[in-house]
């Protein structure tokens, strides 16, 4: 009886320590998430326009890039971007500190997600009927007016569901940065297995991911509803 109650005795000091560590890891994961979106959303548009360019070499370069990035694991890209310069070029751009590892991780993530986003944008832009452009043209609108005033909002409405998918995936992909020792949420959770021999912090990280992706799902649903006033 005493033993049992000891087993379920909650060690509040330990809980405090774990939550502190997980929160710290979560902040790092959140940083990766936000910075990836800030970089990849606009870069994706550049790559999308590149892969629709009338100039052959620009189009092929962008299509090649998208093929390579989408065709290989993000984890491999992380490893190559982090270790590549040092081992292949004999010059480790990233230095030895945490900042260098973080920057390398961000470059890999932004490039990877920009390529996925670019394909979503391209699909969205190419899905707009030609008649929308022509209606703008015969009304004397310029190309940029047609894009910004007519096409863009229709594209945004079309791409919200597939972008939502990618964004939810990104939440969980942030855990990959651990391969180059960026200490994010899951790393910190797993650390307690080695250091304290307890596994619950590891399971607990799942709750963080669930809550965060849950909030995002609610936000995306709200956004979709906001755009319900017109049909494309």
């Amino acid at each position: 009886m005493i033993e049992l109650s000891l087993m379920f005795q909650i060690d509040w000091l330990e809980v405090k320590e774990v939550l502190f560590s997980l929160n710290e890891g979560f902040i790092k994961s959140l940083e990766i998430f936000v910075l990836t979106l800030l970089g990849a959303v606009p870069l994706g548009l550049v790559i999308a326009f590149g892969s629709m360019s009338g100039i052959g070499i620009v189009r092929w370069f962008n299509k090649f890039l998208v093929w390579v990035i989408r065709g290989t694991p993000l984890m491999l890209q992380l490893l190559i971007i982090y270790y590549g310069p040092g081992i292949i070029l004999g010059n480790n751009w990233w230095g030895s500190g945490a900042t260098g590892r973080f920057i390398a991780a961000m470059i890999a993530f932004i490039l990877n997600y920009a390529c996925y986003f670019s394909e979503i944008y391209r699909g969205g832009i190419e899905g707009i009927p030609k008649g929308q452009y022509e209606a703008g043209e015969v009304l004397g609108m310029t190309k940029s007016q047609i894009f910004f005033k007519v096409v863009l909002l229709q594209v945004i409405k079309r791409i919200i569901p597939p972008m939502g998918n990618e964004i939810i995936t990104l939440v969980k992909d942030t855990s990959l940065v651990r391969v180059i020792a960026v200490y994010e949420l899951m790393w910190n959770g797993q650390d307690f297995i080695k250091s304290e021999g307890i596994i619950w912090p590891m399971f607990f990280t799942g709750i963080y991911y669930l809550l965060f992706s849950g909030l995002l799902t609610l936000f995306l649903g709200w956004l979709e509803k906001k755009m319900d006033y017109f049909k494309v």
Partner: protein, 261 residues
């Protein structure tokens, strides 16, 4: 002087000759119907006139000003093409309204963007906007949609959408308004309401070119008809000429074929 002259207009898509030398001219206030079976270049002709396609040969002259001459090097600057386009309006077969704007917004958008380029826009913004809005409301009233100003296109019937499209084209005060089979996507009842609007425009002396399969409409409303076949004009004349006394054998067959139905 003719408001529009088209001379020897030719257009190829690759090997396919779609227009093989089209000549016609219309006067201010004319309503010209372009008839003939599908796939014979009628739509391409309208698209060339509206600068959605670049003709391979020929000239387009509006009010004596040569807007297009295939012999001369064209200015391809966007500014220039826009200016030329504004002589014309085009109403599409499938309306092509902008889905994210209300009925009123659809009619106002292009005019607003155009007026923004006025040097005094910033100063008189409020007044200019109010004028555009009043003008748009008047146009929508003319096409019988004053009770639908705040509706979105998907909330309207096809006939209502097409009437919005007509008001939208009129908002830029084109010299010549073109219609590309404006009622082909509509059922007979909705067709009637759109044709009524076009007819009232004809009565107010709007210059129009209408590509249509509505023969009774062409007969009643147009004062000039051209019959196109395989990229050429086979016959042109008044509705009486074409419908009562067609000279060309192909035109005779076409008109006869319709009459027997």
């Amino acid at each position: 002087m003719a408001i529009l002259e088209v001379k020897n207009l030719k257009k190829n898509f690759g090997e396919l000759e779609v227009l093989k030398g089209i000549d016609f001219s219309i006067e201010k206030g004319d309503v010209m119907a372009v008839i003939g079976s599908s796939g014979n270049g009628k739509t391409t002709l309208l698209r060339c006139i509206n600068f959605l396609e670049t003709p391979d040969a020929g000239e387009i002259i509006v009010n004596g000003e040569t807007l297009f001459d295939a012999e001369k090097k064209q200015s391809t600057s966007e500014e220039n093409i826009r200016k030329k386009r504004l002589h014309f309006g085009l109403v599409f077969q499938n309306f092509n309204l902008f889905p994210q704007y209300t009925v009123l917004g659809n009619v106002m958008l292009a005019k607003e963007l155009l007026e923004k380029e006025r040097p005094d826009y910033r100063k008189n913004k409020k007044q200019i906007k109010a004028e555009i809005e009043a003008e748009a409301k008047k146009l929508l009233d003319d096409v019988g949609l004053s009770d639908k100003l705040d509706y979105y296109p998907h909330q309207l019937s096809g006939g209502q959408q097409q009437r919005v499209a007509i008001a939208r084209a009129l908002a830029l005060k084109p010299d010549i308004l073109c219609f590309d089979e404006p009622t082909s996507a509509l059922d007979p009842e909705l067709t009637a309401e759109v044709l009524k609007v076009i007819k009232s425009l004809a009565e107010s002396k709007m210059t129009m070119i209408v590509v249509t399969h509505e023969m009774s409409f062409a007969k009643d409303v147009a004062n000039k008809i051209i019959f196109m076949d395989e990229g050429k004009i086979l016959e042109e004349g008044t509705p009486e000429d074409i419908f009562e006394n067609p000279k060309n054998q192909r035109v005779k067959e076409f008109i006869g074929g319709i009459a027997t139905i």
